[in-house]
């Protein structure tokens, strides 16, 4: 019986607890009275994934016909797929997208459809390599469609975008021309966090900069409390994306949305102790943990990076739903919340987050300081509903070494952003006004985005805005063990140990602060009352 998530009260009987810090972890003894939020146990997956997919395609939700009835000979079909930013860590093959694609393409072939194109919905993310795509879609699909009919989306190909005008709030809507002109778009989505899916799939995944800047901006971010809570009025970005999606729908774009949810079996069995609560570790688990820690600490950085890069999650599918976008997404969110929601009473003065080695934007890459900020103050901070786990003006303590390291190929604009922009100011509003346009339209970055495997020139800005709400909400950010220069450049403080960090925090929150440690991954959402 999978147990729900709960909030632990650290007492004398509590052993040291595991805290992620980048490519490694540490065992931290927390002060008595610290609250620790634990995610729910992993739900069991569906027994028959193929059956579940078939059921979803033949019994769609909302106002939609079953997929085979939407396919006809002579139609123009576009299949859009979520890119490499999901799931995290990458799912053990076969990826669920592969299975779904095989079903969809089989149905299309049976229906006699000839004009089929597959697009990886990258928006302004980097292009996926052939190898990465093959891993995601499987050998069969790859061989049949690559490279003519399977490609990465190119948001900077002005001729390949269709303009739909604006929503009633003046937001420009522009998506891939191929998709816009198709008879049907089938979207294959994985919903790892509550922000994914829904109208975001098409309206953002297949959109260009002109569209994206209407919600990927500081104002929207500050009014998304949080962007992991897509209820109406809670998340400005979600509301904006919904408006765009509905406009597309009103303007005749037909979308058959297929969404999947996964359980939280995040770690392979040889690191099984990461899935268990610390006081339930057997002697074998403890031994394994210490061996892993020792090996990790003494390994050369290259070996360590390789090890982490190769981690694959044994995710199981908890649901597949297909049909009309909003109906499907409502059901998806139900499944997601069932796995991820934890009830938390009250906020605290200090929130502690251990930042793992992997975020959406450094798969097979390096988590540079800007991405650390995005993962910590952006994603982890925003994993809440109603209120953040830390009070307004409180302190966020983050664990990560924050190395001054960048991947030249994937993140070229990040390097300049870090060296030029952040050196001058760290305030998101100023950055947006002063620098964003330049980076977004820089021809060199555009060239790298289109032909190499680089994130778009404007992407580091989005990373910075993603943590804007977090930055704005807390009074101070302290990194435990971070590299002084990088942390300083980010505009934060650092300490060598948790005790020192709490001491420093007392300047902001007083001498007896309440502390909460967010014990993720696995991913969870704190439902704060």
């Amino acid at each position: 019986m999978p147990r729900p998530g709960f909030v632990l009260d650290v007492d004398e009987r509590t052993p040291p607890l595991l805290v992620n810090q980048g490519e490694g972890f540490r065992m931290q003894k927390f002060p008595l009275g610290t609250k620790v939020i634990y995610p729910p146990d992993a739900l069991p997956g569906v027994k028959d994934a193929h059956g579940e997919i078939r059921r979803a395609l033949l019994h769609p939700l909302g106002d939609s016909k079953p997929l085979p009835e939407l396919l006809f000979s002579g139609m123009k079909l576009t299949i859009a797929i979520d890119d490499i930013s999901i799931p995290l860590p990458p799912m053990r093959t076969p990826d669920i997208r592969q299975r779904i694609l095989e079903h969809v393409i089989e149905m299309a072939a049976r229906a006699g459809v000839e004009d089929v194109e597959l697009i990886v919905a990258t928006a302004l993310h980097r292009r996926m390599t052939a190898r990465e795509i093959r891993r995601m879609v499987g050998e069969r699909v790859f061989r049949s469609f690559w490279p003519d009919r399977l490609s990465n989306f190119d948001a900077e190909d002005r001729d390949a975008l269709t303009d739909f005008g604006t929503t009633d709030k003046g937001e420009e809507v522009e998506i891939s021309k191929r998709a816009a002109e198709s008879d049907l778009i089938v979207y294959v989505n994985i919903n790892l966090v509550a922000m994914d899916g829904g109208h975001k799939s098409v309206a953002v995944g297949l959109a260009g900069y002109r569209s994206l800047r209407h919600h990927h901006n500081v104002h929207t971010m500050l009014h998304s409390t949080s962007y992991m809570d897509p209820r109406e009025g809670r998340s400005a970005i979600n509301d904006s994306v919904n408006r765009m999606g509905r406009k597309l729908s009103d303007d005749g774009v037909k979308v058959f949305q297929i969404e999947t949810t996964l359980n939280s079996d995040t770690f392979p069995s040889n690191m099984g102790f990461l899935n268990k609560r610390e006081w339930e570790w057997s002697m074998a688990d403890q031994g394994l943990m210490m061996a892993a820690k020792k090996m990790n600490d003494v390994a050369p950085p290259r070996a360590r990076r390789d090890f982490f890069r190769r981690i694959e999650a044994p995710y199981k599918v908890t649901g597949v739903n297909a049909g009309e976008v909003e109906a499907v997404h409502a059901r998806t969110l139900e499944n997601l919340h069932r796995q991820q929601l934890v009830e938390v009473q009250g906020q605290s003065d200090i929130a502690i987050f251990g930042i793992p080695y992997l975020g959406p934007y450094n798969v097979n890459s390096i988590l540079n300081p800007i991405l650390v900020h995005c993962l910590g103050l952006g994603y982890l901070f925003n994993m809440y509903r109603n209120k953040p786990i830390v009070k307004q003006g409180g302190v966020a303590i983050l664990y990560h070494p924050v190395p001054w390291e960048f991947n030249q190929i994937h993140h070229p604009s990040y390097i300049d952003f870090f060296e030029e922009v952040l050196a001058e100011t760290t305030d998101p509003k100023t950055i947006e006004t002063k620098f964003e346009e330049r980076y977004a339209t820089d021809p060199w970055y555009i060239h790298l985005y289109r032909t190499s495997h680089a994130y778009h020139g404007v992407h580091p800005f989005y990373m910075w805005y993603w943590g804007a709400h977090g930055r704005d909400h807390v009074g101070d950010v302290i990194f435990v063990g971070g590299e002084p220069k990088s942390v300083a450049r980010l505009g934060y403080r650092r300490a060598d140990s948790l005790r020192d960090a709490i001491e420093m925090a007392k300047d902001t929150v007083g001498s007896t602060p309440s502390i909460t440690y967010f014990h993720a991954p696995p991913i969870m959402i704190a439902d704060v009352r």
Binding site: D11, E12, R13, L32
Partner: protein, 409 residues
């Protein structure tokens, strides 16, 4: 049929093992070195030839420091003729009567005054102590109808609290009100002992008192001192943070760590502090009365060295032995033992005193103290006895006061 019981049995190798390596590896004492076994013993039969006995079904049975000392082989051989092996330990009991017992019907909830004195042993006429109501000092605890055993929990015939049933005599039973939760009732016995110790200390009005130790015994003694004596300033020495917090909450005037006791008492008594070449510091002057509640050598040393000349030191826990008794001679101290709450004590009643059974007073008072039920930190079923013993041995460090068995689970 049979009764599930945790039985203490004679084992020389375990005793030797516990004494030698037990201190270095305390985990072993709850493991292979424990001279305890979970056994299904033949049911205790009600004695047909003598009246006044009944079977009791324990709801909760506490683990006392003396029990742990026995298991760890740290008690003196002095006790060997006072017990009959093998026995089922457990003398802090709250349970339910399975049979009618004179005026108490079956089903009554009772606590046990564990001493097996003349009344229980059928000794008639009783010894002088029992005749005057001081059953804790009974001289006949090894003879009479029963096998030797100073208390229930050390006697082969009666069984003990760490089992599903035990035998008790009417003279031992005290009914508790239904409204008292079991976790409070199981502390009635140690509370009664604490009251007895507080009264044995003969604290003059306004006298300064030092309590060494703030585990269950220390906290209960502190409460008793506050309620039944007119002590002046009460200082408590406590090792662990939770104990210090509890002592403050229970009304101690000053709470210090053990290493700071001499300093604190010195300040208060404005005494002179001396440092010998070897051994701990001591005072010339100090507290009027000290009550030693840990049973450890260090605790007794601290008490003896910080009590004023002519003062009184009360031994509330079984002394470990090895303390330096020089201060007793030099400072003309009164060393007083406080064993158990058997029988009556003299309680202040306005300007006079009245003699009442200590247990009765304890039951009455316990009903008014909400702190009592919070002292039970964990309960365990009998089959998890190793965890229970292990927890009890590290109770202070783990922030627990009392660990108890819930034998019916």
């Amino acid at each position: 049929m049979t009764t599930l019981s945790l039985q203490y049995f004679r084992s020389v190798p375990r005793y030797v093992g516990a004494r030698t390596i037990g201190a270095k590896a305390p985990g072993l004492i709850a493991g292979p070195l424990a001279p305890l076994r979970l056994a299904t013993l033949k049911d205790l039969e009600l004695p047909t030839d003598r009246p006044g006995w009944a079977r009791v079904k324990p709801q909760l049975a506490g683990i006392c420091g003396s029990d742990l000392a026995t298991i760890a082989g740290r008690t003196s051989f002095y006790f060997s003729p006072l017990v009959s092996l093998p026995f089922v330990p457990g003398h802090e009991v709250v349970g339910e009567l399975l049979d009618d017992c004179e005026d108490l019907p079956a089903g009554t909830r009772v606590v046990l005054s564990s001493v097996l004195a003349c009344a229980a042993r059928g000794e008639d006429p009783p010894c002088d102590n029992c005749a005057s109501g001081r059953t804790g000092r009974c001289d006949r605890v090894t003879i009479g109808h029963l096998k030797p055993g100073l208390q229930t929990g050390f006697c082969q015939e009666t069984g003990g609290g760490w089992s599903r049933a035990l035998l008790a005599h009417r003279s031992q039973l005290f009914a508790v009100p239904e409204s008292m939760p079991p976790s409070a009732a199981v502390l009635v016995e140690p509370f009664a002992c604490a009251i007895h110790a507080a009264l044995r200390a003969r604290i003059e009005p306004g006298a300064s008192v030092l309590l060494v130790g703030a585990g269950t015994v220390g906290i209960l003694t502190l409460i008793a001192v506050k309620l039944f004596t007119q002590a002046g300033r009460v200082t408590v020495a406590a090792k662990h943070q939770k104990q210090r917090a509890a002592a403050t909450m229970a009304g101690a005037d000053e709470v210090v760590r053990p290493e700071h006791v001499t300093k604190a008492v010195r300040r208060d008594a404005r005494a002179v502090k001396l440092t010998p070449e070897r051994g701990p510091e001591f005072l010339l002057g100090g507290a009027d009365v000290a009550i030693e509640c840990t049973g450890s050598r260090r605790g007794l040393d601290a008490a003896l060295r910080t009590t004023k000349a002519g003062g009184r030191v009360v031994l509330s826990g079984i002394p470990e032995g090895g303390a330096d008794l020089t201060p007793v001679w030099f400072r003309e101290l009164e060393l007083v033992g406080a064993y158990t709450a058997g029988g009556v004590d003299s309680f202040p009643d306005g300007t006079t005193t009245v003699e009442r059974p200590t247990f009765e007073v304890a039951v009455e008072t316990a009903a008014t103290l909400p702190i009592l039920e919070r002292l039970v930190g964990a309960t365990y079923p009998l089959d998890r006895w190793r965890e229970a013993i292990d927890h009890a041995m590290a109770a202070g460090k783990l922030g627990t006061f009392k660990v108890a068995f819930a034998p019916q689970e």
